[in-house]
């Protein structure tokens, strides 16, 4: 029976991994730790529900609308963060207060519009979500779909950063803004672009997550937990974040089963604290260096 728990841990883990990857790409490109990530995910979930269940659009049309919401959100966050970081030279200590404030505003706004009651996104019409027995374990096609889509997005992001010219330009801007400017990279645009990518991926995560857990305004907590996953992976490596996400998902589910479900939400923070104590650089990185 335990393998069943591991599998649902992997499903949750794929979501954590994806959010952790978002943290890493934004951090790698802009040096900003985005505390509003969980709220972007929440907006994704709510948009899907609003367009599909409340407005009554078709599934594909709702998806397109949600992506548009993600782009708009990305542009807004990008413009605010660019203004703060590049124009007003807000230091990195205050930059995550900026992102925290943005997340808090999003959360409060959704609370005002949608109220505190949870909503659920119905599964894709015609999709058979009944669990099937595969290789001795029961697994739902929905879960397989979630894992597959999450993995596909992660691989696409990793490849984008590694191999495309824009990805390279983004990595260059993160290393040294002035040097990137001298070789002709439009840093402001690169930063904006990364926020837009972050917005698009973020709303997708929300859509993936909403069949698993009901959409609530407190949903952003998932983003904070995924932060722990990013730290397990070392915070600067995309593969690290992916591994960290899966580790977190599985451990969290196992502890929910063996210890207590009431404190399941606390597991991520306990793992985080353990890592900060013994391995602050994550599982894979060797040395902890700090820029002076």
């Amino acid at each position: 029976m335990d393998i069943q728990i591991v599998i649902s841990g992997i499903v949750a883990g794929s979501i954590y991994a994806l959010i952790a990857v978002c943290f890493v790409i934004v951090y790698k490109a802009t040096q900003v730790v985005n505390f509003g990530q969980g709220e972007v995910v929440m907006i994704g979930a709510y948009s899907g529900i609003v367009f599909f269940s409340i407005v009554g659009l078709s599934y594909s049309l709702s998806y397109i609308m949600t992506i548009l919401v993600g782009i708009v959100l990305g542009v807004i966050m990008g413009l605010i963060c660019n203004m703060a970081q590049l124009k007003f030279k807000v230091n990195l200590f205050n930059m995550f207060i900026v992102t925290l404030a943005i997340g808090f505003i999003l959360k409060s706004a959704v609370m005002l519009v949608m109220g505190p009651n949870p909503y659920t996104l119905p599964p894709i019409p015609g999709m058979d979500t009944a669990p099937r027995k595969m290789a001795g374990v029961f697994i739902s096609p929905l879960h397989i779909a979630i894992i597959t889509i999450a993995l596909a997005i992660m691989v696409a992001l990793a490849l984008f950063f590694k191999f495309t010219k824009i990805g390279k330009a983004m990595r260059a801007s993160s290393l040294r803004i002035i040097a990137a400017k001298t070789v002709g990279i439009n840093v402001t645009f690169m930063f904006l672009l990364i926020w837009i990518i972050n917005g698009i991926v973020g709303v997708n995560i929300g859509l993936l997550l909403s069949p698993l857990v009901p959409a609530e305004t407190t949903m952003g907590l998932v983003g904070i937990k995924a932060f722990a996953a990013a730290i397990i992976g070392g915070f600067t490596s995309i593969p690290g974040a992916i591994v960290g996400g899966f580790i977190l998902g599985v451990i969290e589910n196992l502890s929910g089963f063996f210890i207590s479900t009431a404190f399941k939400d606390a597991v991520a923070f306990i793992i985080l604290i353990i890592f900060l104590l013994f391995r602050p650089t994550g599982l894979f990185e060797k040395r902890f260096t700090k820029r002076v």
Partner: protein, 323 residues
């Protein structure tokens, strides 16, 4: 470093301002109606919490998102010690503050090793865990139902009126402001400043970063705990929603709005941000949203807060507040 010039005219000016404010608040129960006294009580409690948070954020330069938990630890600690163990408020209340300081040290031990966004995250997580514990340990805290808290009493005299209670808040507030001022002008305060300006430089002059950060965190948590004990007693009823993340973010906003690293700033910030929501009661639902926007606007455009704004206006008034 204006801190070294003890008897300069601007310091004297600050003391005069303090004195006037103290006289006004000290005599206010005689001429202010009950509603405003309740607000004054809230301001006093807010000031204690804000100054505590400012010690850690403005002086030592370490972020904390767990002051909601420290505040709650003070409130619940005091309430449980009084209601369940039958201790006197006057014993339970400082113990509540000490419990909060202990929680602060427990959280700070792992988190302060790294600082920066890790600290923000761990403290945020600690606040969530604290809330989970409050909700799930029904035996002690009554869970989501909440706890009734009695007003303190001396012998047969109970501080049941807000006017009487205000004197407890007021005296605590004055004492803790004085203590904070002394801390800032002591070896600790200078070490905190050094750490905030450059950790590497502070280390180079033999300041034990970890130790001083922990001290700052513990003092700050103690302030929050003391404020929490008063708060529970003031509103007579506490439940876990009083001490969630919103409180931490609210006070983060208050410290930044008032002015990081400024005690007068904390007074102004706590005053304004307690009175404003009361003035705009009709917009109650928008309160969270407004706090979010205030935080965002101040952190980008006015990172030195109101006190920074005032000190840049010094040419107009000819005086400079210590910012």
């Amino acid at each position: 470093m204006s801190n070294f010039k003890k008897t300069s005219s601007k310091t004297r000016f600050t003391y005069v301002v303090y004195l006037l404010v103290a006289i006004f608040f000290g005599t206010s129960p005689f001429f202010i109606d009950a509603y405003f006294l309740y607000i004054f009580n809230l301001i006093g409690i807010g000031v204690i919490l804000t100054i505590g948070l400012n010690l850690v954020m403005g002086y030592a330069g370490q972020i904390s998102l767990s002051h909601g938990a420290f505040f709650g630890m003070g409130a619940y600690g005091t309430a449980i010690l009084v209601e369940k163990l039958g201790l006197s408020f006057w014993v339970a209340w400082p113990l509540g503050g000490i419990l909060a300081a202990i929680i602060g040290i427990i959280i700070g031990l792992p988190a302060l090793r790294v600082g920066g966004h890790y600290l923000a995250l761990v403290t945020l997580g600690a606040n969530e865990i604290f809330n989970l514990i409050l909700i799930h340990s029904e035996g002690l805290t009554e869970g989501v139902v909440g706890l009734k808290v009695a007003r303190p009493r001396i012998g047969s005299f109970a501080f049941s009126e807000d006017a009487y209670f205000f004197y407890i808040v007021f005296i605590t507030c004055v004492v803790l402001i004085w203590v904070a001022n002394n801390i800032i002008n002591s070896q600790f305060g200078r070490a905190f400043n050094a750490i905030r300006e450059s950790e590497t430089a502070a280390q180079a002059i033999a300041i034990n970063l970890y130790e001083y950060k922990l001290i700052a965190f513990a003092i700050s948590a103690f302030y929050a705990g003391i404020a929490g004990g008063l708060y529970g007693s003031l509103i007579k009823f506490i439940d876990p929603t009083n001490f969630d993340l919103f409180l931490s973010i609210k006070y983060l906003a208050i410290v930044i709005v008032g002015g990081l690293g400024s005690i007068p700033g904390s007074l102004i910030g706590a005053g304004i941000m307690t009175v404003l929501p009361e003035l705009f009661r009709a917009f109650g639902d928008y309160q969270h949203l407004i706090y979010g926007f205030i935080l965002l606007i101040f952190v980008i455009f006015l990172p030195r807060g109101i006190i920074g704004l005032l000190s840049s206006l010094r040419g107009i008034f000819g005086v400079k507040l210590r910012a």
